[in-house]
Symmetry: C2
Subunit: 254 residues, 2 copies
DNA sequence: TAATTTTGTTTTATATTATAAAACAGCGTT
DNA sequence: AACGCTGTTTTATAATATAAAACAAAATTA
């Protein structure tokens, strides 16, 4: 499997940009990549030609281009899970006042496809397009649990169960045990395992062929949602998830 | 200005995907690009490595990857015009019941950065990330009009004033005259010039240094919004646009 | 069921093409 | 006025992308 060096380098340049880094000088790109300025220059100009990079004419600095926005939105639209799930996320958020999410699996991480902010609580971390680890989130657990043993095996091979908060599960066996429980219950909980003070519940969404294609979740603040209320949310969530699965053609096995 | 062939080709591959084409076989990519299969294969695998392309394991077909979504959303977030304008778009939409937009200039086109759907009317064409021509849209006219003569000159050099509807302006002089009028009025109108039955009004948003950085607009259906009502919308829009400009540090010259 | 076409992938030789050194030009600072 | 910083252009070299051909496996067709 041959990797094209020029392309690989260009894509690595795009990765240099993140929440904190929206602008970069060519000198800095060159330094961070440890590649000669002139080489970077050629790559940047080609990226710019296609709109993936823009150059600030005033400062000479480079930033991400709007082509990424265009293509990103194109993706979102083509995923019909999102269209189907949208109104249910809104409904759940209105019923509970909490923030709801739609997440799918990509590689060994979850990716937020949609988010509806609740009136009562604003959850900071999540954002459409952002990624979330499988072992520390309710959605991650659900996306992992409802798969075949083989799939779970490959997912967890070389998987780094890193610690995020005090409550994060960091042992593989404990995680596997948790996944079993999730499968029995039909939903998963993240109790401050990803962010202190935040408790979430997630439920799976099944496709017509019975495989999990997504998860929806409700995020709550420990300080404002007690156990009783949280349990009610679980029931609401499960029901809504089942409705979505049915819309997608999934029929529960009797 | 040397263009890197491998990178250029890879980005052209990404461009093959659009609203109607969400999946492609390698054979078809090869045919449409007129490049050998094995070459395309290497490019695809490198794109896949970075998440810009995904392969459907079942069918072997290639589709866009979620990295595009991630980067696209990152862009949106980094543009603070959007954050500032958001609540005003919502307010305008609630007051009028119509769909409102936020658009910026990129190259020789406008790009939708935000959209708030009105209760009364759903405008099909627009979508965040999508592009719109300068001569056929209210936002395009505004983004063009409020620039220096030199800037307008370079924008309209080699510009194709193509016909879209019966009402589209297709003569350069007529367009220049229209731009003058827009500058005097402080707003622009698109009367079914981009889509039959749709009439829009747009107003400019100025940065602290006095340059136009964006345009906001209200889109209406001719069939449901009469001239009197439309005039009221213009007043509302202008006022809201001025508020946004002031938030961004722009002070009206007296 | 067997043959045939089509799929995506791998390998390999060739020369095209990406690469980086060095020189350049334009600013802002010292 | 001299220096240090931008980003850019040019040019020689050889490393790297390229495409032909062979491959394997799946989907059609006969």
């Amino acid at each position: 499997m041959p990797i094209i060096q020029a392309l690989d380098r260009a894509l690595k340049i795009l990765d240099l940009f993140d929440e904190h880094t929206t602008e970069l000088k060519i000198t800095e790109i060159s330094a961070r990549m440890e590649i000669h300025k002139s080489t970077i220059h050629s790559l940047l100009k080609t990226l710019q030609l296609h709109g993936y990079i823009n150059q600030d004419m005033e400062t000479g600095r480079y930033k991400l281009g709007l082509k990424l926005l265009e293509k990103g939105q194109l993706m979102l639209q083509s995923l019909d899970i999102r269209t189907v799930a949208r109104k249910h996320l809104v409904a759940l958020s209105e019923q509970t006042g909490q923030t709801t999410h739609l997440v799918i699996l990509d590689g060994k991480e979850g990716v937020y496809l949609d988010k509806v902010e609740g009136e009562k609580a604003a959850i900071r971390y999540s954002r459409i397009g952002r990624r979330i680890s499988l072992h520390s989130s309710a959605v991650g657990k659900v996306l992992t649990a409802f798969r075949t043993k083989e799939e779970i095996d490959t997912l967890l091979r070389n998987y780094d169960i890193f610690k995020i908060t005090e409550a994060t599960i960091t042992e593989k066996n404990a995680f596997l045990h948790e996944l079993n429980q999730v499968r029995e219950q039909g939903y998963s909980i993240d109790n401050q395992e990803n962010e202190p003070g935040v408790r979430c519940v997630a439920a799976p969404i099944f496709e017509h062929n019975g495989s999990v294609i997504a998860a929806i979740s409700i995020s709550t603040l420990i300080s404002t949602v007690n156990d009783l209320l949280f349990k009610q949310y679980i029931a609401l969530l499960k029901k809504e998830a089942e409705t979505i699965s049915q819309t997608l053609g999934f029929r529960q096995v009797l």
